[in-house]
């Protein structure tokens, strides 16, 4: 099988085209694997730069106005998907919805805190804080096996 990479300056996202004389198991498997690579990473944008983010490096994903942003250790990246789409895609992993507009990666959560007024917040290992709604506490407990 020949592999050819053609550089196209200005292309937003990589595109893979398979040229084949017939559809067989090898081609189908190749297509499946390439699709899996795409779905493992989150496509984002930082300025003019297009990035593929490893979800394990993402601390939290949140909606801000019409935008969906992801926070890594020290960076903020604009994602192309909607929050509910990302929630579905990342389901079963360490990402949990903690409030109406935010998903948090529990592999990076340091602790939870309850204020005097009764507001719950959580602290992440990159110093970020996120608000937790009381109704999501059950989901968090169940994820942690409590």
């Amino acid at each position: 099988m020949d592999v050819e990479i053609r550089l196209e300056p200005g292309r937003a996202a990589p595109k893979v085209l398979i040229l084949t004389g017939e559809m067989n198991e090898t081609v189908a498997e190749l297509a499946r694997r390439l699709s899996a690579v795409e779905s493992r990473f989150l496509a984002g944008r930082r300025g003019d730069e297009v990035l593929l983010l490893d979800p394990a490096q993402v601390r939290r994903i949140y909606a801000q106005g019409q935008q969906v942003l992801a926070r890594t250790e020290g960076e903020t990246v604009l994602l192309k998907n909607r929050l509910y789409e990302l929630e579905e895609r990342l389901a079963g992993g360490p990402f949990l919805r903690v409030s109406h507009g935010e998903l948090v990666n529990f592999d990076h959560v340091r602790s939870l805190d309850l204020s005097m007024a009764g507001t719950i917040s959580l602290r992440l290992d990159n110093g970020d804080a996120a608000f937790v709604s009381r109704r999501n506490m059950g989901r968090i407990k169940s994820y942690l096996g409590i």
Binding site: S99, L112, L114, G118, M137, I140, K141, I146
Partner: protein, 157 residues
């Protein structure tokens, strides 16, 4: 939760309020009506001067109560509000919704301290709710923190 959604829920609460009031009159009549249906308690008829006026007032007040309770239930769903703010606002909404009714129907007549005493009793109930919810949330937060610490201390494979 938007104001419009809360308003819509309040409107849905009106027929529920009327239904509950109607059900109460049926139950009261079954037990104390001597075989007759009594749409309002005799004391209200006495206050209003005629039964139809009493029924009309009861209908109006049932609508107000249904709206107030349904509208106020949305307060617990505003997730950005703290528990203290939710409890306080729910107390105020329910109090203001039932204040005219309590006044018209003389609910507070037999309560020590009159109307202020009646609402003081109400406030005490809300304070208990706040204490229970705060204690429950604090326990959940403690459990989660304990588990997070255990996970952190566990040696990584």
């Amino acid at each position: 939760m938007t104001f419009l959604k809360a308003l819509r829920r309040g409107l849905v609460g009106i027929p529920i309020g009327v239904f509950i009031a109607y059900a109460i009159t049926i139950v009261l009549s079954l037990f104390w009506g001597n075989g007759w249906y009594s749409p309002v308690v005799p004391a209200l008829t006495e206050i209003m001067g005629s039964q139809i006026e009493a029924v009309a007032l009861q209908f109006g007040l049932s609508c107000v109560m249904g709206f107030a309770f349904a509208f106020a239930s949305c307060i617990w769903e505003i997730e950005t509000w703290s528990l203290t703010r939710q409890t306080l606002c729910h107390f105020l909404a329910i109090s203001l919704g039932s204040l005219p009714i309590a006044g018209v129907l003389h609910w507070a007549d037999n309560v020590p301290g009159g109307l202020p005493g009646y609402f003081g009793f109400f406030a005490a109930g809300y304070a208990v709710i706040w204490l229970i919810l705060t204690a429950s949330t604090r326990r959940k937060v403690r459990e989660v923190n304990q588990k997070l610490n255990e996970e952190r201390d566990r040696p990584k494979p």
